[in-house]
Structures are given as structure tokens and as C-alpha cells.
Amino acid sequence: MKLEGKVWRYGDNIDTDVIIPARYLNSFDPAELATHCMEDIDTSFAKNVKAGDIMVGGRNFGCGSSREHAPVAIKAAGIPVIIAANFARIFYRNGINIGLPLLEIGSDVEKIKADDTLRVDASTGTIENLSTGDVFRAHPLPGFVQDIARAGGLINYIKEKK
């Protein structure tokens, strides 16, 4: 899966409460969640994000609540991949389970700035920063986690196994 898009850049410890605040958890409609995604730290995101744009965060991205509404909202906003130094554990699982690739690149993430354009191969984990010429490699996904990703998420994976 090859992707190319403009970067929405966020910092360390982006928590699930800012990704999708609890006041919107009375719905789990992805399209509705997407309209409020990130609004407490970035009111321009939901308005201006374009399908194919890429989200980039720092350390411990997605910390906090287990709400799968958070990766669902980001995915429904049109983001096909998130890149971060590393991800909080439950958010990471949730991303894999809903078929949203999450790539961890450690401190290399500091070389990616807002509005850079990235080309990402989610299956190999190769990330090219077309704005700077840098190339990064994400830590590869472990074996059967790759199978889940390939199946498009855990539900499909379980159905295939049945």
C-alpha cells in the first residue's frame, strides 16, 4: 500500500481525549466523530484535512482511554496512516484491529515537520520525506499482526480463520 500526503504534525502524549473528546462519545458513527477529531487542540484539522493526508505525532501517541472512537475518528477523517515516535499500547492495538497502519520511527520523527509531503509504503514501513529527501524505516510489525493488517483488521482476520 503506497500513500502520499501532506503532514499534520502534533507533539508528544497526544491523548485520546483530545483526539475525540468524551462529550462526543454518545455516538460511534465514524463520520460524525471525524467532524470533531482533534478539535480541542487544532480547530483547523477537521475542517481542512484532505483524504490521504498523513498524521505525525511524537512520543506516546494515543495515550489515555481505550476508546476505539479515537483511531476510528482519525481514519474517518481521511488519514490512511499515522506515524509517531511510538504509540500508547491500547491505541496501537486498536489501530491494528481496525486496519489503520501505525508506524513507529522513534526519534526520526523529529525530522518531519508540519506540511511536509511524505510518501509511505505501509507494508514495508518505508517513509520518504519528499520535502527534505530524508528516508526512514519503521519498526516492522510482528508476524501475525501483519496478517491482521493484511486482512484489513481483526474482525476480517477472525472470519477468515473460522
Binding site: 502524549n13 473528546p21 454518545n26 481505550s66 511510538n86 508476524g143
Partner: protein, 419 residues
């Protein structure tokens, strides 16, 4: 090489002799939990799988976040949970009037036990480590699959040993311990890792202290936070847990990736400043910070001992005229005991509001939402930006002792300052 407590529980449930950090395993689950926010999307995903529930006695559905329903949408969410519970005749389903906060009632009713493996679609599922179980939070898709299969995959975590030493001073409780620890290792200090508590200091901690500590393992990024089984654990689970259970203890040669020591005798009442639970400071060092609201409750500090501590400080005083103080017992049982012990009378005569059990303000749901610029001292577990309301409001996390003292004095204060 021996195994630590987390590894032992994971190995047993994976049907393996032993496991090592980094290993990917599939485990059988003893209990699967969801609430009114996470169950409805899980149920939707579950239906796509096209199988019945794996075991109606091993599922707990606790509509606690917006209970009693705050609006039509949440009424619809709870109805989804209720209909599902009836359809599959789920044993551990809790209706309004019997419901409490999930992580309070699952322990209180003995639904979770030592040595058990529990997953819950709620990040604070890690609370059950306090009774020597392995429990961790997952999202809705993991939960959906667990409802159908009774299994989940795990990566065996590395474990950080938290060595507790020294005597615990009387004015210190579990919240001071865990906020101090998160302040030391950071909000990602235990990312992908297990926390295991050890040392002679464990015996100093009440079960309520341990619930608070295990509850907030996730605030250090931890997968779980497990305590050894001792006389106090035994006394707590006796009469609650009816099933046979098998407690675990670490092998003497168990491996840990790191050891952190906390000397309980050196602890002072602390508070975590906005907007991270790791912004821990000693209350005596912070100067005067005026506040608008106090919340005492939640899965972190909504148990009877928490309310006893708060009431002992508030007794004979009034809530400060500029402060709204909201007290929320964590379960109907806690509510009833607080009534019998006269705690509710202390709160109400002091000018506090007492609510039916609910998560309510903890996640900014309802029942105490903050406006712009308002400050709240809360016994809950998260102080992220906008967590309890407006993005420009502030949440300061503390134990019931500091929260109660702050409610009386109108500023963040230690119990000693109340006098």
C-alpha cells in the same frame, strides 16, 4: 530463569509452561468487560462475526459512564447494551439502581479474582491487578472478538518492579504513591510494560490503596499493575469470590527490566498539575492555587475508605463558599455504607452535592462539567486538556485527603491545613 506474576498468569492462560517478554501468545479469558460507551460498537462488530457469545457467565456489562442516561443518544447506547444482555442472558449485567462504576463493582462483587485473566474495553481494567489478577484494557474490536471467542492475543510485556519500602505515614494514601511513581517514571515510563509491586511496603497498603495504585498503572503507559497476594488480599476476596482461584507469586529468580524504589515514609501529599498525570508536585510546595470545584469519586477513589477519609477531614467544616464539591460513591454498596456510617450527612450538611454512582464528571460526561478557566481538584485519574469540560479548564489530580481539604479551604491544600 523463573517468571514474575504477570508472566505466570499469561503462561497459564496460554497453556504454556513458561513465557518470555516479547513473545506473542493467545490466551483464554476468564472475564470480558465492557461499558455503555464501548459495548455498543463492540456489539456491532461482534454481530459481523456471526457467532453466539462464548460464555454468558464470563461477560460483564456495566453501563456506568452516562448512567442514569444523560440524553437520548446515551439512552440508545444503554438500550443496545440492555438488549444484548437480555438476548444472551448475560449473568453480570447491571441495571440502573444496581449499577456502579465497573472497576468498583467487579471487585466488590468478587467477579474478578486472584490469578484471573480479564480484558475490558476500558483502559482502567488494569485495576484488578490489586487482587493479584492480570487485567488490561483493550478497544472495541478486541472486545468484540473476545465476546465471540473467549480469547485474545497478547505480547508478553517486560516488567518493571516497584519496590515499596518504609512505613506509610498516616496522612498518605494510594494516590500519593501512584502519582509519585508516575511523576518519577513519566506518563510513558511503563509503556508496553507491566508494573509489579513488591517489598515490605506492600503490607502497609490497604486494599483501597492498592485499587487506586493498580487503577493508574495505565497513566504510566502500563499494560497492568499487579500486587502480590497476602493476608489483606485474602481477607478482601473471602466471602466475595465464590469460584476457585489460584493466586500467583513471583519466582525468586524472576526477571525485571528495571527496578524503581519508593520509600513510603518519605511521601508527602501530592497533586498532579494539568495536563498530565505525571506533573506531580508536593502540595506544600505549590503556593496558593484557588479552585472552583472538587470531585470525590471515580474508579480510582470512589470506595468507602476514600469517602471515610474525605468525611473525616470535612466533618465540622463547611465547603468553601466559592467551591462546588461533588461526592460520587462508586457503587450502590458504597452509597449504602456511606449512609449507614453517617458520611452522607457530613457531606450534605457541609454543603456538598452527593450523586448516585456514575462516572459522570470523571470523563467530562455530565454531572459537573467545567467552564472556561475553571479549576477542579479531582480524585479521578486523568487531567488531560478538556477532560472534564472546556478546553481552557484545569484538572488537578489528588487523593481524597487533599481533595477534601481543598474543598474546605477553597485552594489546593493538605489535610493538616484544615486543622
Amino acid at each position: 530463569m523463573g517468571m514474575n506474576m504477570t508472566e505466570k498468569i499469561l503462561a497459564k492462560h496460554a497453556g504454556l509452561e513458561s513465557v518470555r517478554p516479547g513473545q506473542l501468545i493467545t490466551c483464554k479469558l476468564d472475564m470480558v468487560l465492557a461499558n455503555d460507551v464501548t459495548a455498543p460498537p463492540s456489539i456491532k462488530e461482534f454481530e459481523k462475526i456471526g457467532r453466539p457469545v462464548f460464555d454468558r457467565t464470563k461477560i460483564a456489562l456495566v453501563p456506568d459512564h452516562f448512567t442514569p442516561n444523560k440524553d437520548i443518544k446515551t439512552a440508545e447506547l444503554t438500550k443496545t447494551v440492555r438488549d444484548f444482555a437480555r438476548k444472551y442472558d448475560i449473568v453480570h449485567y447491571f441495571e440502573i439502581g444496581r449499577v456502579g462504576i465497573e472497576h468498583v463493582i467487579l471487585l466488590e462483587k468478587g467477579i474478578v479474582a486472584p490469578g484471573m485473566l480479564t480484558i475490558g474495553a476500558d483502559s482502567h481494567t488494569c485495576t484488578y491487578g490489586a487482587v493479584n489478577g492480570f487485567s488490561t484494557g483493550v478497544g472495541t474490536t478486541d472486545l468484540a472478538v473476545a465476546l465471540a471467542t473467549g480469547e485474545a492475543w497478547f505480547k508478553v510485556p517486560e516488567t518493571i518492579k516497584v519496590q515499596l519500602t518504609g512505613k506509610k505515614p498516616g496522612n498518605i494514601n494510594g494516590k500519593d504513591v501512584i502519582l509519585t511513581l508516575i511523576g518519577m517514571i513519566g506518563v510513558d515510563g511503563a509503556l508496553y510494560k507491566a508494573l509489579e509491586f513488591a517489598g515490605e511496603g506492600v503490607a502497609e497498603l490497604s486494599m483501597t490503596d492498592r485499587f487506586t495504585i493498580s487503577n493508574m498503572a495505565i497513566e504510566a503507559g502500563g499494560k497492568n499493575g499487579i500486587f502480590p497476594f497476602d493476608e489483606k488480599t485474602k481477607a478482601y476476596v473471602e466471602g466475595r469470590v465464590t469460584k476457585a482461584y489460584e493466586a500467583v507469586e513471583p519466582d525468586v529468580d524472576a526477571a525485571y527490566c528495571r527496578t524503581v524504589e519508593i520509600n513510603l515514609s518519605e511521601l508527602r501529599p501530592v497533586v498532579a498539575f494539568p495536563h498530565l498525570p505525571g506533573n506531580t508536585k508536593r502540595v506544600e510546595d505549590i503556593g496558593e492555587i484557588r479552585i472552583d470545584q472538587v470531585v470525590i469519586g471515580s474508579c480510582t477513589n470512589g470506595r468507602i475508605e476514600d469517602l471515610e477519609i474525605a468525611a473525616s477531614i470535612i466533618k465540622g467544616h463547611k465547603i468553601h463558599p466559592q467551591v462546588r464539591c461533588i461526592v460520587i460513591p462508586g457503587s450502590q454498596q458504597v452509597y449504602l455504607e456511606a449512609m449507614k456510617e453517617g458520611l452522607l450527612e457530613i457531606f450534605i450538611t457541609a454543603g456538598a452535592a452527593v450523586s448516585t454512582p456514575t462516572c459522570g464528571p470523571c470523563l467530562g460526561g455530565y454531572m459537573g462539567i467545567l467552564g472556561a478557566g475553571e479549576r477542579c481538584v479531582s480524585t479521578t485519574n486523568r487531567n488531560f486538556r478538556g477532560r472534564m469540560g472546556h478546553v481552557d479548564s484545569e484538572v488537578y489530580l489528588a487523593g481524597p485527603h487533599v481533595a477534601a481539604a481543598s474543598a474546605v479551604l477553597g485552594k489546593i491544600a493538605t489535610p493538616e491545613e484544615v486543622g
